[in-house]
Symmetry: C2
Subunit: 232 residues, 2 copies
């Protein structure tokens, strides 16, 4: 740093946040995508996101974009930073560094297109990964899905896909959708109820069509699953 210090010389970057918003719809893992209404990549599907404002922190920008893009005032669930992407040529307009966030949310209403988007929609992850996405969003999406898969193993994050109260079967369906494999309901039940502090019994039950009603639980206080739920 020279003594004749010029801050403007170090300000050649734009910073955006991009969101990988995952949810469970129709028993399937889905991701929120927007169809771009402007160049570059006009007409392509992309992850929702936008520029970080000059006086706004990264987490705050991600939370704001999440509200704007889903149209839901207080999005329940989970929001965490994923990674940053800053290849010099990832945006033809200018030098952009994108800080990606991963959001896990319960089933939300159909999104409405924002200012920059022609359309917005929930898309099954498997299909989204087949589509050509704008920018480097295919990689961001892959990183987000992999993070979600890994975190289910050792964290109680499956509950972020559910409402305030949920059954063990709800959690199992989350695992099955995210991991793409069936789990034994009986072993899963014994395992989850065996982790101390993970599930708080509400004392009530919920009937799901036929069959014995299931106990309703709320999230407990544990932050780490010991032992983990493995996905070998």
């Amino acid at each position: 740093m020279s003594s004749a210090y010029d801050p403007a010389a170090y300000l050649p970057f734009a910073v955006t946040v991009d969101l990988v918003v995952l949810t469970l719809r129709d028993g399937e893992l889905q991701v929120l995508l927007v169809e771009r209404g402007a160049e570059p990549w006009r007409g392509r599907w992309a992850l929702p996101g936008g520029f970080v404002r000059p006086d706004e922190g990264l987490d705050a920008a991600a939370a704001r974009e999440l509200v704007e893009e889903t149209g839901v005032r207080d999005v329940p669930g989970h929001l965490e930073q994923l990674a940053s992407y800053g290849d010099p040529d990832r945006d033809p307009r200018m030098r952009v560094v994108s800080v990606a966030y991963l959001a896990l949310a319960p089933d939300l209403p159909e999104p409405h297109a924002g200012t920059d988007a022609a359309r917005a929609a929930w898309v099954p992850v498997a299909e989204a990964q087949r589509r050509p996405l704008a920018f480097d969003h295919a990689r961001v999406l892959a990183d987000g899905v992999e993070r979600a898969r890994a975190k289910l193993e050792y964290s109680p994050l499956a509950a972020a896909f559910c409402g305030e109260e949920f059954t063990v079967a709800d959690l199992r369906r989350v695992y099955e959708a995210v991991w793409g494999r069936r789990l034994d309901p009986r072993n899963f039940h014994r395992k989850l109820t065996g982790v101390p502090g993970l599930l708080v019994d509400t004392g009530r039950t919920r009937a799901e069509g036929r069959g014995r009603p299931a106990t309703l639980y709320r999230r407990g206080s544990v932050t780490t699953l010991h032992p983990p739920i493995t996905r070998d």
Copy 2:
């Protein structure tokens, strides 16, 4: 995005990379720190780092800074992105987003101070975490150390702290230093040699003072430890 599009309106950010460089010295986990030679935080210890250049990717910037700050041409070991930090007031000069990287390296020579630094030194992590660090580097350091601790559980990254060839005891000393607890040498040996593809026997041994010489291994091709080394 308006039709009268002005890229300059979105360019109020500087982007830096900060490095958490961890190594093993004297059987202790140590981190590379520099003493700042300029304002702000002149005289404070900080993580090494610097501005990302206009035509340089984030990973490339981190790799370049790692070489510059350690003084080693090709730093062996491991380099991965950690997280990004962008609170609006984290740097009083201007709006800075810092992309932090975690580097794990074998014992390297004493560093020399770079252009911006008064001094550079390896500091035991426990001591570094007691010192007041510049910017939000205390949090970055804590995040980096925690990432390293977690990754040892399920990845073969301990070898990144060692040279090309190493013994099982070398790896055990890495785990013991990073986790801050003793491991049973016998169970550790059986566990590590039991992971298929993790260790490649060189056929040679290395004598370490007294005692039976240990087999020398090279890194195998596995990227995930199954089963993991737990740190309950």
